[in-house]
């Protein structure tokens, strides 16, 4: 899955999905709000590997990056594989561009890339990183 995510949001002059902890985000949510999707993920990742072996003779992670990209571009047109791939893209985006409290966007790397100002409100340093699912309340 790391290999797929690193093609969805690659590293370049800025961090990519792996450096930002997108996989950690997905793993965290698969034991939380996305728990009902565990089977979807298992089957979806397996299907991508199967497709990879069938068309290129190797599992996805063993292919060179260009072949990986080409395979994913093929998959996003495939009626059977498309739904899982679109879901994974969306989750990568959440884990990369979303709030760090959910396990991704380590050190706010995507927000730094975009130039989102910090501190978040002029004159206010406080930023809420509390996790409501753990019963935490923001301090004021």
């Amino acid at each position: 899955m790391e290999a797929i995510c690193s093609r969805i949001i690659p590293e370049d002059q800025d961090a990519g999905a792996i450096q930002a902890g997108v996989v950690h985000f997905i793993d965290t949510q698969l034991t939380g709000f996305y728990k009902p999707l565990q089977k979807t993920y298992r089957l979806g990742i397996a299907a991508i590997d199967q497709t990879s072996v069938r068309s290129a003779g190797k599992k996805f992670a063993d292919l060179p990056p260009d072949s990986q990209i080409a395979l994913l571009e093929h998959i996003q047109q495939d009626a059977d594989l498309k739904p899982f791939f679109n879901l994974l893209v969306d989750h990568c985006m959440q884990g990369f561009y979303g709030d760090p409290r959910h396990g991704g966007n380590r050190d706010r790397v995507s927000w730094k890339m975009l130039g989102v100002p910090y501190p978040p409100v002029r004159g206010r340093l406080r930023y809420d990183f509390t996790d409501p699912s753990k019963g935490e309340k923001p301090w004021l």
């Binding site: 969805i8 800025d14 985006m93 561009y97 959910h102 409501p132």
Partner: protein, 550 residues
């Protein structure tokens, strides 16, 4: 065991219910206000990009929860699915004290005079139930004013030549303009348009004992950390409670409205916060659950006299479900224009609400609230891939250069876009869930596409080096602007309530929320909901005093 009888039980502490609670309580009636959700506050401001009422990929921040509150959605091909409350086809608004007003973007619009006379103005639209309201803008004007001053609206509409007559200005000045405003304003003037400062239910200065806006980037969908955003939860509901005549009971889910064999409402049966079934008797019942849930409740309140539900003798309950068709455009400016000065939405034009050649109605157009990074991910133009290096490049290069202009196109109501109750699926409390089906009228799509082009033209004039459109699909519209399901009308065979929101069949049952809207204007509906609630409450109080109730 029945609870102590009260004068009025109000179901739903949202935009409509909150106003009614205060008006009745201040008039001396005893009121029970039931709310299925919780009472959140400024302390519940999380600034969580992935879990808020607008972006709810990790759940609805302010209700309802997925586990206990499914619905059934039927698509245009007739396929039906059980849908989660935080999912895209659910058409959620909120479930909490304040309802949508707790976390909304708070645009505060009066509908225009023509919005109440759409049939007279535009004629019959084949395939649509477009009709005139039984009341006019003039009927509602004093109550619009009351809502603006009592709940609190900031802005400046003096430069808008299209709005209806008004006796008083807005109580608060607009927020100081942001950079998008400064870019879009001269461009609109050059095009011969009439731009002005968006009216918003948001304190721009200290008002009503709460501070002014702190200009953060988390507004629409979020609780306000400083309580500057005005909703019924921090204005009229506390006033209602202060009278000591009103009791608010949260986490109470109404199962049905109880009626007797003389065809009058006697109260409600509801599950309290411990899921025990309770009976609250009342002299009158007010339904303010929002267009989808109000219709659902009426349909679920069956009896021998009302086998198809309350107010539904002619099959108009649940019909004409509508929202707004949001379309618009994005413009890429040649330079960085992002100033992080919230709420972001600041400038509007009403030049295209009416008078569009060959079109019925139109939309107000305004710039959008600040786009948070994850929200912007899906806003890339059609030619840009949705993932990979190209997508990342686009995000990096454009995030601080993009302006979005869009507007709520007024929809042609469709009889078969409607709310029913599902014959099989039930919620956690065993109550049949709402079943949504239907789609948009083709002319709505047509008008909305023209509105998108107008937005694009504005952005081009403002100097956008690249523009792309946001258009709408044909599917059902409801969501946060849901309306229309218990239409107001003089004729009981083609409406559910009369001009005072009284159900035609049942003189002590009222629906006071956007369900009663005949059509929804080309504007966010909340101020109209509040104005109708003030007006209906005034009539209710007169009627109750006449009956010697308080």
């Amino acid at each position: 065991m029945a609870l102590k009888r009260v004068n009025a039980v109000i179901i739903g502490a949202g935009a409509g219910g909150g106003v009614v609670a205060k008006e009745l309580a201040e008039a001396g009636l005893s009121v029970v206000l039931l709310e299925r959700g919780k009472w959140y506050s400024a302390f519940d401001c999380r600034k969580d990009d992935l879990r808020n009422q607008r972006t709810c990929v990790l759940g609805n921040a302010f209700g309802p929860d997925d586990d206990r509150n499914p619905r059934v959605a039927v698509d245009l091909q007739g396929h039906e699915r059980v849908v989660r409350a935080s999912g895209p086809e659910y058409n959620n608004n909120a479930a909490c004290v304040g309802g949508g007003t707790f976390s909304y973007g708070a645009m505060a619009w009066r509908y225009m005079e023509k919005d109440f006379r759409m049939r007279t103005t535009y004629g019959h639209i084949p395939g649509s139930t477009l009709a005139d309201w039984p009341i006019t803008y003039d009927d509602l004007e004093p109550y619009y004013e009351k809502a603006e001053w009592e709940i609190g609206v900031s802005g400046d509409v003096s430069a808008d030549p299209f709005h209806g007559p008004r006796r008083k200005p807005l109580p608060m000045p607009p927020l100081p303009s942001n950079r998008e405003y400064q870019i879009l304003h001269p461009a609109a003037k050059r095009l011969g348009l009439h731009p002005f400062d968006l009216p918003m239910l948001r304190n721009s200065v200290p008002y009503n004992g709460r501070p002014g806006c702190m200009r953060c980037r988390w507004c629409v969908g979020f609780a306000c950390e400083v309580d500057a955003k005005c909703g019924t939860h921090n204005t009229v509901i506390p006033k209602a409670l202060a009278t000591k005549n009103c009791e608010l009971r949260t986490e109470c889910v109404v199962k049905e409205i109880v009626t007797n064999d003389r065809g009058r409402a006697t109260g409600v049966a509801y599950f309290d916060a411990d899921n025990r079934l309770q009976q609250q008797d009342a002299d009158l019942v007010v339904v303010s659950c929002g267009a989808i849930e109000s219709a659902r409740l009426l349909l679920n309140s069956k009896s021998k006299l009302f086998p198809n539900g309350l107010g539904n003798r002619h099959d108009w309950v649940g019909r004409n479900l509508q929202g707004h068709t949001y379309t618009g455009a994005f413009g890429l400016m040649p330079t960085d224009i992002y100033d992080d000065l919230g709420p972001g939405a600041s400038i509007a034009i009403c030049d295209y609400n009416h008078g569009n050649p060959g079109l019925t109605g139109g939309a107000m157009l305004c710039n959008e609230f600040i786009r948070l990074p994850y929200q912007f991910v899906a806003m890339v133009p059609a030619g840009v891939p949705r993932w990979g290096k190209a997508h990342k490049d686009f995000m990096r290069n454009t995030y601080r250069r993009a302006i979005a202009v869009q507007g709520p196109t007024q929809e042609m109501p469709v009889f078969d876009s409607h709310v029913q109750v599902d014959p099989i699926v039930r919620d956690f409390w065993g109550i049949p869930v709402a079943r949504l089906s239907g789609g948009k009228h083709p002319h709505t799509i047509e008008v909305s596409a023209v509105m998108a082009r107008k937005a694009e033209a504005w952005l081009k004039e403002a100097g956008a080096e690249q523009t792309w459109l946001k258009l709408s699909g044909p599917g059902l519209s409801a969501g946060q602007h849901q309306a229309g399901t218990c239409r107001m009308g003089d004729d009981p065979t083609t409406s559910v309530v009369n001009r005072y929101c009284q159900v035609h069949d049942i003189d002590n049952l009222f629906v006071i929320d956007a369900s009663v809207h005949v059509n929804n204007g080309g504007f966010n509906p909340v101020l109209t909901i509040m104005a109708i609630a003030y007006r209906a409450s005034e009539h209710l109080v007169k009627q109750s005093k006449g009956a010697g109730l308080s």
